[in-house]
């Protein structure tokens, strides 16, 4: 099984490469379109349904700086596919070059246990857990907040910049210490007072 390795290739100049892994392949497209709009540095987005990546592209593929797994909480398949894909990553990625992005977290159809399981997974791997709203909102006022995709893009770029080494004095591992997800005990406990 070919593992995806973080440091086996040289980085590009003023550029960053991100891999979006989503088993449903819906959200990643709009996210990718927004990501390439970034002008401060070149962002190359690669999309995948799951890992391992096909062997044919092995040579031409650049060094992947950040792997973002997109999990839809309303689908069990999404979560399982992510868990399976994780095994195809070199452990070096878990030093801040992996992040999890969760959609539909506030949906009533998403069972709470699944969200807890994702949280536990992210916490055990010391990775950040980002929540996104994947709905495009309707423009109703000129002063409205950016919609879910724009925001998700901004957040991914924040992490990507550090992971690609474009922020001086900050490494991916350093940032991951600050952003890693934690599993807190249930807020609803009666002892909360």
């Amino acid at each position: 099984m070919s593992l995806l390795k973080p440091f086996s290739k040289l980085p590009g100049l003023n550029s960053a490469n991100i891999l979006l892994v989503e088993s449903k392949e819906e959200f990643q497209q709009s996210l990718a379109d927004a990501l390439v709009q970034e002008t401060a540095f070149t962002v190359n987005v690669r999309l995948a349904k799951s890992l391992p990546l096909p062997m044919e592209n092995e040579e031409s593929r650049p060094r992947i700086d950040l792997v973002a797994f997109i999990i839809d909480l309303t689908s069990e398949l999404s979560f399982q596919s992510t868990e399976a894909s994780l095994k195809c990553l070199d452990p070096g990625y878990f030093l801040g070059k992996v992040c999890f992005m969760v959609t539909n977290a506030r949906n009533a159809a998403a069972p709470i246990e699944r969200l807890d399981a994702v949280r536990k997974l992210a916490a055990s791997l010391h990775c950040p857990l980002l929540f996104t709203e994947d709905q495009r909102c309707v423009m109703f006022s000129p002063l409205q907040t950016p919609d879910g995709v724009t925001n998700a893009t901004e957040r991914l770029l924040t992490i990507l910049k550090v992971a690609a080494g474009l922020v001086p004095m900050a490494t991916a591992l350093y940032l991951s210490n600050l952003t890693r997800s934690t599993v807190s005990p249930d807020i609803d406990q009666p002892s909360f007072d």
């Binding site: 539909n104 506030r106 009533a108 709203e133 907040t145 950016p146 901004e154 924040t158 952003t179 807190s184």
Partner: protein, 767 residues
Amino acid sequence: MAATLSLSGSPGLDPSSSSDQSVSSRSNNRSLRVAEKERKKNEAEDPFVLALKYFSDVEAGTPVHGNDEVEKNMVMVEKVAYMKGLSPEAISIMLEFAMSLRMGTTLCARVLKCLIPATVVPQEAVVRAVVWLGIGKIPISTRILFIKWVLTVFDMIDAKDQLRAIYGFIFSYVTEENLFPFICHLLYLLTRKESVRVFRVRKLLELQSRLGRQPFLLSLLSLYKVFCPELVTLSISSRIKSGFRNHNMPWKSALIAVQKRNGSQVATSISLASAIKTNPRKRKHCHLELPVLSSVVSKEAQTDPSSSRKVVPLVQLHSFAHILENMHRIELPAQMGSLLGSSLALQYLDCVQDESALLRLNFWLGHALHEEFLFCGDGGASQNSEEALQFLNTLLSTQHFLQEGFSCSEAFLYKFLSVWDGSLLRPQILGLLSNIPVVPSSQIRRLLFEPLMQLFFTSSLFFKCGLMECLNNMLLKWLTWHSVYALEDDLDISLNSHTSINMTLSRFKDSVMELVDFVGQLASLSLQLEGCHSLLLSFILDFYETVCDTFLKYGLPLVVMPTPGVFYPALFATDPVSVDRLAYIMYRYKVNLTSAKSQEKLTEVKAFHISRQTFREFNHYAVVMVNCLWNSNMFQPDMGVQLGEELLLKSNVPQYWTSFDLIHHPAFMSYAVDFHQRCWPERKDMDLNSIKHSKPWSWYLEYLFSQGYDGLKQFVQSNISRPLTAAGGHVDRQDDGHVDRQDNGHVDGQGDRQDNGQDDGLSTLQR
């Protein structure tokens, strides 16, 4: 069949029940007229009236299977129900038909599922149905469905007095385990002070011992406790989360659809969408919204004209004077959410401190927030809708008006933060966040700081700035709360309002310390990650402007110095405003520390003790700042920034020790150049060091201060004494930039710091 049943209840209710019937018949007339109009327009209406007639006349025992007629009529009724909702009369008929089990149990559930009211639900129908609940052999699941239906349409029931009259009857159902949660919810909505009796409390407690501390039971008991605290001795946590689950699933979407279609403004708490549509109306035209309810209430009171207990519904009062007149007999509306928009109602609520009303309001609010933002049915597609935004804005303005938050919104926020993406409804969420009351320091990290940290470092610069501002507001509110409510002699500070917090002074100080430390941590890390962005720095300095004055402005005996990760970026910032603000902050710190020190000496009470560490830190910062800006003496050993000499020499910067003084500092160099040109316009070569001579130096300072840098001015005046004699001052200057100092109240140039081992932390500043 409907006519033969008589209503139970006291005789005093009869006038009101007849008026009920007149009210309902009026609305029935209206709906018949409407129905007639519809019929004239559309022939398809005819089958509906026929179908209703069929259901009201059908004989008991008619078979269902293979009965095409009943199927046809049923489909007709369902169609109308889902399209525009059923009229009160139709509901009456259908409910009667279903609950009496005239055609067996199979149709009952089906009818209940399609009972979507168009306007109101007649009270008698519900009462009759409750009676059937006891008599008939309705299967358990259908009973549960019925109760759920009552809960769903509760606010559409036109009056509640008869339901309240049969409170005991409804209460008797608590023994049935399957119905228990739903009956509890219904009782919760119907309970009044009169309903709380010892035997009922005993029964509930007995059930609790059998079934455990179920949330619905606890909510009902807490409501009982609010009404009669002496009867319920159980200790119940004051922060009850939403104890009742949502029961309106089968009807919710249909109800929303029907109401949208009808454009009706009926008071309801079914869905937030309709509640939001009615809320703005309620704010301005309350009396239009609940005429049925209020008139029933006042008529009920009029049955006893001799008694002065004429209850005035809150919705009828329109001015503050009115409220003052009727203070003792105001009745709150059934829908507590309608109070949120009206400032008059809020004033009344705040003044009267009616715990049951607050409990109900909290319950409804928590429920609404959870429903709309945490467990969205459609995954949040409507989240950026006007209604959600307006709701939150209303809530924010309410909290702003009351000057504090609701406990339910606090609980909601903690849950929401853990699934927030950072941009959805950001201004509102940050606004609500700044309103949360003081969090105990043992919980604050887990509840607040961890989710915030995860959001902070992955979000954009603007979110970081927004969160800084939010935390600043939070600190401001906490400090204000303390300064208002802290008792002078007592170290115990408690708040008698919606949020009953009991907190000692030391615990409060702990929480504030935690918050300030947390912000300091966020600030220093984010400044490094964002390359000392000036916008972020500005928000951070805002925060420290609040922190530096905690003692003098807010009376909190606590002084916390800024972290080095904030101090140095501000000192070396490339924009003069940041340096100026830093100077102002340092000046305020000095004022606070000196006053604290003198107070400690005066009062002899060790209530307030600033640690030596704090003084040391301050001294260190002050010395660094003066050395850097004034003495042109950077990079000395055990100053703040240490760089090896070889490295500095390698940089090829001439006279590197002057590189951050008031002339060469990147922020002020433009002013120095400008000054130089004005001072010596004929000179060709720019020699900035010539400003350092005594006369031009004082002129230069005056020039700087005249540009609006008051912070610098105050800092210089408080820390550096420059005796200005007629000859232009005799501040000796040596070539290597040392300045000799005169005495009284300024900073040493070099080394002279003495720490005599006493607690005289500011000894270096005052000799």
